[in-house]
């Protein structure tokens, strides 16, 4: 018998419920109003008064309405068939909903219960198994989808029977295990997990070190992210957070991409719905949508469900990681999530922290980023969740709680700069302030030296130093005028412009330039280092500028041309001629 209560008070989406029986913090409940059931979550308990936040509008709700408690926390459904789906923040399948408008109290199941999956057993009778162990696999969009011992099953079990290879629906029993008392427990392809808890079905979480190729040069070359790494992209509005995230999600060498649209524009989600089914994954040649899951809680959808949306996305990512897959999770924007927390905490009249955000914001953010990572599973296979979130700082000022607290935990910092965006130097990632802590990991250095070349890290550092020097000189020229600094300075400055235009800037809307595979990035790097270390002879500063503009133009044309194509070699030839003209003996 489910626990029941009645509504005692309503303040916007915060509802006070009177209950006589025991209730758990974060338990889910349903409030009945006008024949619809509104889902809500317990967020505070004082004596017999339970404060719940309703995930929908409370319009028309009256005191005395009946409330039914579900006996569990907010959970997601995990099983084959999640890929390619468009889900809302509470994991409802948006495509299954009726009508043009979202109806209150409409909840749809995220899996198909009729689909037959081609099951192949991986474990055998008599095996000892624990949570997360692989029992079998089905083929989901050409990916091996592992059917696991449910994460909730703590302890150790013996596999009593396993279904033979064949076609089954998600709800059919595919295995039976027995526990220590010899009780039999059936297992299907579906399991549930509370979103606020991390899935711990792995043995170890070592430091990540393998490059996760994104095809974006300012990331891969200058500020690399790794499989299981974390990063964040802060930037004022219009500086290119969403364009950069979309570029990464299209190109990254990941098995699964989970995109959480958290309190942002619906049209941006429509762009994904519209384009991803046609775009091709550059690594497998399959359609991008096949590896993608979209969690959409756009800015006009209920605010309370916004908080849930990022956790829903994280839990689904953890599920796929446990299958030994490389998962890339993106959240745009984590600031909207923090704002949802702020609205909730204000309504609860909690003591506010900086900028009226909740006091424990820092802990909440670090806990969330902590769920990402590279893991070694119980069977020695590896899996990863790479997490990249955007941050939308008020007024574009990075001295605000969400940015500062995120900076403490995320290991890559991709700072988008208003001035660069204004100058259309895209992606507007600030070349000096941005960083990747992974460049300092000895494990990474070892890995990348083997993958690309021994001197790679030195080259990366050289580029950074040159950018820094270029900036200093440009400031001096602004004060002293072009004639006020030595000619050498102009050459050094233009070498940094060369790095900026050819390596760091990248056109996200060009078919060729948008994706640069790592071997091509090495080629660009080699060319640039070669030019930067070369000595040139010039008579005056206008000559320097004119010359470097020509070099930049040719190298940009190379970037736009298909690698090693005739066109590419044509430009390369012109470039070599130009370089030889000016080489000082």
């Amino acid at each position: 018998m489910a626990t029941k209560g009645t509504v005692k008070g309503i303040i916007s989406n915060l509802v006070i419920v009177g209950v006589d029986e025991p209730i758990s913090q974060n338990e889910i409940c349903y409030i009945t109003t006008n024949e619809t059931r509104l889902m809500a979550e317990v967020i505070k308990i004082i004596g017999k008064e339970v404060y719940v936040q309703v995930f929908e509008s409370t319009r028309g709700l009256k005191v005395g309405a009946e409330v039914e408690f579900a006996g569990h926390m907010l959970e997601v459904v995990l099983g084959p068939g999640l890929l390619s789906r468009n889900l809302d923040g509470l994991q409802n399948d948006l495509d299954k909903m009726e009508g043009v408008f979202l109806k209150r109290g409409q909840y749809t199941y995220p899996l198909d219960e009729e689909t037959l999956w081609e099951f192949v057993p991986l474990a055998k009778e008599g095996d000892t198994v624990t949570a997360g162990d692989w029992l079998g696999q089905v083929d989901e969009n050409f990916q091996p989808h592992k059917i696991m011992v449910p994460f909730k099953m703590t302890g150790s079990y013996t596999l009593k029977s396993i279904a033979p290879a064949g076609r089954y629906t998600v709800n059919e029993t595919i295995a039976v295990v027995t526990d220590e008392e010899n009780a039999e427990l059936p297992i299907t392809m579906v399991q549930r997990w509370p979103v606020k808890k991390s899935v711990m079905a792995y043995r170890e979480k070592p430091r990540p070190f393998k490059l996760l190729e994104t095809g974006v040069r300012v990331i891969d070359t200058a500020n690399p992210i790794v499989e299981g790494g974390t990063g964040f992209i802060p930037g004022a509005f219009g500086t290119g957070k969403t364009v950069l995230q979309h570029a990464i999600s299209k190109q990254a060498e990941a098995d699964i991409v989970v995109m959480a649209a958290c309190g942002e524009r619906a049209n941006e989600v429509v762009e994904i719905f519209t384009e991803f089914p046609h775009l091709v994954d550059p690594h497998t040649g399959r359609k991008l949508m096949e590896r993608t899951i979209i969690i959409a809680n756009t800015s006009n959808m209920p605010v309370a469900a916004r908080e849930a949306s990022v956790y829903t996305a994280m839990t689904i990512s953890e599920y796929y990681r446990s299958m030994g897959l490389k998962v890339l999770l993106m959240a745009d924007s984590t600031s909207r999530w923090a704002q949802a927390l702020r609205e909730q905490s204000n309504r609860l009249e909690e003591l506010p922290g900086p900028d009226a955000f909740p006091m424990d914001l820092s802990a909440i953010i670090s806990n969330f980023y902590g769920r990402a990572g590279y893991v070694i599973l119980n069977n020695n296979q590896t899996g990863s969740i790479t997490f990249i979130g955007t941050v939308s700082p008020a007024g574009g000022n990075l001295k605000e709680p969400v940015t500062e607290n995120t900076k403490k935990v995320a290991r890559c910092f991709y700072a988008l700069e208003q001035e660069r965006a204004d100058k259309k130097r895209y992606p507007a990632v600030n070349p000096i302030d941005s960083y990747s802590k992974y460049l300092e990991y000895p494990e990474f250095e070892k890995y990348i030296s083997k993958l690309i070349s021994e001197d790679w890290i030195d080259h990366v550092n050289e580029i950074k130093t040159r950018m820094q020097r270029g900036k200093e000189i440009s400031e001096q020229i602004n004060i002293l005028g072009d004639d006020g600094v030595p000619l050498d300075y102009h050459i050094t400055f233009w070498k940094s412009e060369l790095i900026d235009f050819v390596l760091l800037q990248q056109d996200a809307f060009d078919d060729v330039d948008s994706v640069t595979p790592i071997e091509r990035q090495k080629n660009i790097m080699d060319n640039i280092i070669h030019l930067c270390r070369m000595e040139f002879k010039f008579a005056n500063f206008t000559e320097v500028m004119d010359y470097f503009k020509k070099i930049i133009n040719l190298m940009k044309q190379m970037n736009y041309a298909v690698f090693q194509s005739e066109e590419y070699h044509g430009y390369e030839k012109q470039l070599n001629m130009l370089v030889n003209e000016r080489k000082s003996a």
Partner: protein, 441 residues
């Protein structure tokens, strides 16, 4: 609003603040409307039998024995074809002396469109203003504000845009509108013979400020009727959203909420997003496009209102007075239409993206030359040509009084480029130069 026989009348108010009054009542729904001595109010808090009402026009002069009647519903609007050509106040009552229109009664501020039922916007909206059509092309289903100082002619530009855009309906939502500006809109629309395709919801500066919180929802509920039921292309004008935000801060302040930046409520982002996100392209052909105004104080775009707006809308248009040519222009640097990529060079001539970028880049060169000049450094010949180009470009392309079609804008820009520059200076693809460069002009 007449009292119906079965409605219970309450006469014991227990608490009155500037914006709210409280009383004991039963069977009241959240968000429900009530009248307090005839003034419209809405339920904002229920704790047991204690009901708190927000009185839209304020509580001045309300006695503790005022008559309170609950209306059993949230704010509604009767939608139907009879709305066309009419003027209403924030509560949806006619202010043009006409009859109350008949139609289906729907609650305002209704649910949002399921994102998977939207279509990607793809239809260009032509305004004749080159600063918009050429550099910041608008698309049906887009939401975009003007960021303008209070003394700039944003209402004039908006009225022009509305009349020239080929839409089926124009819905005006006026918030804190000066009475003169209200009459201006009324005159312009009626002189253009366009009154029958316009619906207006107006809260003037003299009306109670809190009432204006209803304006966007009223306007957008009407818009949804025409876009969904009639598959029409609807353009919604919201002026001025900064007055709307002011009303939000008044309410949250009076309700003792903890303010966040610039004394705005912490929910400002969600409050604004709920309005702007009503912009949509439906697969059936109907659409809602929102053009709004956000007035700035002292040009400060880091203030909470423009800042949050920028995070929500699909670009923004800046007005600026160019003292070199004595005209108001659409500033090409800070203005942005994020949806222009979906139409330029596709719905317009192939050279559009390149010509647009080249001209803005050269305009930026002129700005650099100007800074150089002001700092007392010597100008090169190129700098001087760039400055001459900038003047022509500002006068003939960017000025808000330009009214030509997109092809003409492109031709004119090519003319300016060839007058002031050499082909190799404009950085345009070779094939386009061969086709469009004006040799002999």
């Amino acid at each position: 609003m007449a009292t119906k026989a079965f409605q219970k009348i309450y006469t014991q108010i227990t608490q009155i603040t500037k914006a709210t009054c409280s009383l004991k009542a039963r069977e009241v729904g959240y968000d429900e409307l009530a009248t307090v001595n005839g003034r419209l109010a809405q339920v904002v808090k229920i704790i047991g039998e204690n009901i708190t009402l927000q009185v839209f026009s304020g509580t001045e002069g309300i006695p503790t024995n005022a008559e309170v009647v609950f209306l059993g519903k949230a704010p509604t609007l009767k939608v139907g074809d009879q709305l066309a050509g009419r003027f209403f106040n924030a509560l949806g009552k006619p202010i043009d002396g006409g009859p109350v229109p008949e139609g289906k009664e729907v609650e305002i501020g209704g649910p949002s469109v399921n994102p998977v039922r939207r279509k990607q916007p793809s239809e260009l909206i032509a305004t004749g203003i080159a600063g918009i059509d050429l550099n910041n092309t608008l698309v049906s289903g887009q939401k975009i504000p003007f960021f303008a100082d209070p003394d700039q002619p944003y209402n004039v530009v908006m009225a022009n845009v509305a009349l020239r855009a080929k839409t089926d309906k124009i819905i005006l939502g006026g918030m804190g509108l000066a009475n003169d500006d209200y009459l201006y809109f009324k005159n312009v629309f009626s002189n253009a013979g366009a009154l029958d395709r316009i619906v207006s919801f107006v809260n003037t500066a003299e009306n109670p400020p809190v009432e204006r919180l209803l304006i966007p929802d009223m306007a957008l509920t009407a818009a949804e009727y025409f876009a969904v039921e009639k598959n029409e292309k609807v353009l919604v004008l919201l002026t001025d959203m900064s007055s709307y935000a002011d009303a939000l801060s008044i309410v949250s302040n009076r309700m003792d909420q903890i303010p966040s930046k610039d004394s705005m409520p912490g929910s400002l982002y969600s409050d604004l997003a709920k309005i702007y996100e009503k912009a949509v392209q439906f697969p059936s052909g109907g659409s809602i496009t929102i053009i709004a105004v956000t007035t700035l104080s002292g040009g400060d775009i880091t203030h909470a209102v423009p800042d949050n707006t920028g995070y929500i809308t699909e670009g923004q248009l800046y007005l600026r007075r160019d003292s070199d040519v004595g005209k108001v222009i659409i500033d090409p640097f800070r203005s942005l239409s994020r949806l222009k990529q979906l139409v330029i060079g596709k719905k317009t001539r192939e050279d559009h993206p390149q010509v647009m970028n080249a001209a803005v880049r050269l305009y930026a060169d002129a700005a650099n030359a100007k800074t150089k000049q002001e700092n007392g450094f010597d100008l090169t010949h190129y700098d001087e040509r760039a400055l001459a180009f900038a003047k022509d470009y500002s006068r003939h392309i960017l000025a808000i009084d330009v009214n030509i079609d997109t092809t003409e804008m492109l031709d004119k820009t090519w003319n300016l480029l060839s007058t002031h520059f050499r082909p190799e200076e404009v950085n345009i693809k070779h094939t386009l130069i061969e086709k469009y460069w004006k040799e002999d002009e």
